[in-house]
């Protein structure tokens, strides 16, 4: 088995999701190569070399690879995929964007968002917002896989001493160009990997009142999340959305505050170790999956909670 893992990064540092993808690769078993496709991403290469279990890092450096455009990344991966038995990447926005393009170019079927490796060709993936788990066996000669990061514990950041090899990039795709990026700046930990997540929903009521969620998160050193309703209403930015079509999180403690808990939201947080729900509606579905629930007005409970912490 020889496994290629496509690194996710911003040219400055390796995204933690790549360490979880490496854990899935380790479960499949075999020689692991990481591809760092970017521009002036030397620091990322160094991190990838040090990651546990990596034997080689392929480095493709080109201005056309700087912004993660799917057309360019996929062209590069298509060139080398047949040298490997598996190609893995995180089921993040980055991975979801380019991997199906690789699959179609190779006339293969991708296995999306795996949560378990059964054997080298058989994987478990959630369907219907995680309300069912499907086990599939891939018959393609190269297994193209995106990995749900929260389902695999990250490998160690250190311990590896992989060699590097330059990989030439061909022509940039003519029809697509990067224009700009508007990154949400937050002093809070990253939502996808935080130990504690504090999420607010429609019940918070307004963007101004959403500061109560931010304040509790700050007190707990937690990341801020939100339900789709809260994001649609403009209380929180889109990258905070937890759910079937947003981010999937599995922290040690998940606070669902003013969130009713539609199945689409549960899909993004039901694997959390402890779920705390605060909602004044005692029939809110969130209470069915909460370990600890408080039926009360969040504007009474949250300040009390902050005082006790």
């Amino acid at each position: 088995m020889s496994i290629l893992v496509i690194a996710e990064h911003d040219n400055a540092s390796l995204n933690a999701s790549t360490l979880s993808t490496l854990a899935a690769a380790a479960q499949i078993g075999g020689d692991v190569t990481v591809l760092v496709a970017g521009h002036n991403a030397g620091a990322v290469v160094t991190e990838a070399q040090a990651a546990s279990g990596v034997s080689k890092v392929l480095v493709a450096d080109d201005a056309a690879l700087a912004d993660g455009l799917a057309e360019n990344i996929s062209a590069l991966v298509v060139e080398i995929a047949s040298n490997f038995s598996h190609v893995l990447t995180a089921a993040s926005n980055f991975g979801k964007n380019f991997m199906p393009r690789v699959a179609a170019k190779l006339d293969m079927m991708q296995v999306s968002d795996i949560v378990e490796v059964v054997t080298a060709d058989t994987f478990v993936r959630p369907i219907y917002a995680g309300n069912a788990l499907m086990t599939v066996k891939s018959k393609d000669s190269v297994k193209l896989i995106t990995v749900r990061s929260t389902a695999f514990d990250a490998v160690a950041e250190t311990g590896g001493s992989a060699s590097t090899e330059e990989l030439a990039f061909g022509e940039a795709f003519a029809g697509t160009s990067f224009v700009s990026r508007d990154v949400t700046v937050s002093e809070r930990p990253e939502l996808a990997t935080a130990r504690i997540v504090v999420s607010g929903g429609r019940g918070v009521g307004s963007k101004e009142q959403f500061t109560i969620i931010d304040d509790l998160a700050e007190k707990l050193g937690a990341a801020v999340g939100a339900s789709r309703a809260a994001v649609d209403s403009g209380y929180a930015p889109n990258d905070c959305q937890v759910g079937q079509t947003g981010k999937v999180v599995a922290p040690d403690i998940y606070f669902a505050i003013g969130i009713s808990g539609a199945i689409q939201h549960q899909a993004g947080m039901r694997e959390s170790k402890i779920i705390v729900a605060i909602n004044k509606d005692d029939e809110a579905p969130i209470f069915q999956i909460a370990d600890y629930g408080i039926v009360a007005d969040l504007f009474d409970v949250v300040p009390e909670l902050m005082a006790k912490l």
Partner: protein, 248 residues
């Protein structure tokens, strides 16, 4: 320009699905079905393009069984000009669907194909990107805004870190995120009118594409239930419980 919009008939998003006891799949008998929510956003965007004078014709296409005609009727009621059903009794995988849609693109020559970013049944999030790959078109995925500028689109995408804008030249594939627009509700006269609009039906097998699955479904299981929790009186008791559990 013509715009092609792919729509899928799926179990309605409000339905709590049940896994079949024999582990062969999910029970879809006698449950409410509707158009995949992301596809409604796709159709709405195409209709707005027509209202803005950018699009001349909006064609809805679906791959599925006979009953997918219901979904296409909904699309016609929202305002699509005509519809195409690619009839396939066994639902093809995303790769097969992308190949079928590529054939329709060849026939119809649209400048834009709009798809939902994912279907809420199999959650694959693949078909749009695959269609773009097969056509060698640019892809603007997870779109929350699309501004047409001559023969290009300035497209804003929702990413894990925030928002990103890319410029993609036509022809192109767009996949939608939920914040792209608010899909309209069809009015009764439109629903009546939709009954007279044409739906072309073509057999998936007529395209000469190998649609046999590449992924063998070994089984489908329900996820583990969470242990029932408790209701606590107040913040003080909550903190106490969290400390007992070693979480704080």
């Amino acid at each position: 320009m013509k715009v092609l919009v792919a729509v899928k008939r799926v179990v309605d998003y409000n339905v709590r699905i049940r896994v079949k006891s024999d582990g062969s799949g999910v029970d879809t008998d006698n449950v409410v079905m509707s158009m995949n929510p992301f596809d409604e956003n796709g159709l709405e965007e195409a209709l707005r393009m027509k209202q803005a004078g950018i699009a001349t014709e909006v064609i809805a296409v679906s791959v599925g069984g006979e009953k997918s005609q219901d979904t296409l009727r909904s699309a016609l009621a929202m305002g699509a000009d005509r519809a195409i059903l690619i009839k396939a009794d066994e639902a093809p995988e995303p790769l097969g669907i992308a190949k079928l849609l590529a054939k329709i693109v060849e026939q119809e020559d649209p400048q834009v194909a709009i798809l939902g970013k994912q279907a809420i049944d199999d959650d694959s999030n693949q078909t749009g990107q695959m269609l773009a790959a097969l056509l060698d078109w640019p892809q603007g995925t997870f779109a929350s805004n699309a501004e047409f500028d001559g023969d290009a689109i300035n497209l804003t995408r929702e990413t894990d870190a925030g928002l990103e804008t890319i410029k993609i030249n036509l022809p192109a594939v767009i996949t939608t995120d939920l914040r792209l627009n608010d899909p309209r509700l069809p009015k009764l006269p439109d629903i009546m009118k939709a009954k007279k609009k044409p739906i072309d039906i073509v057999e998936a097998s007529s395209f000469g594409i190998d649609l046999s699955p590449r992924l063998e479904v070994v089984g489908v299981a329900a996820p583990a239930e969470r242990e029932p929790g408790i209701i606590v009186a107040d913040a003080a008791e909550l903190v106490e419980k969290l400390k007992e559990a070693g979480a704080l």
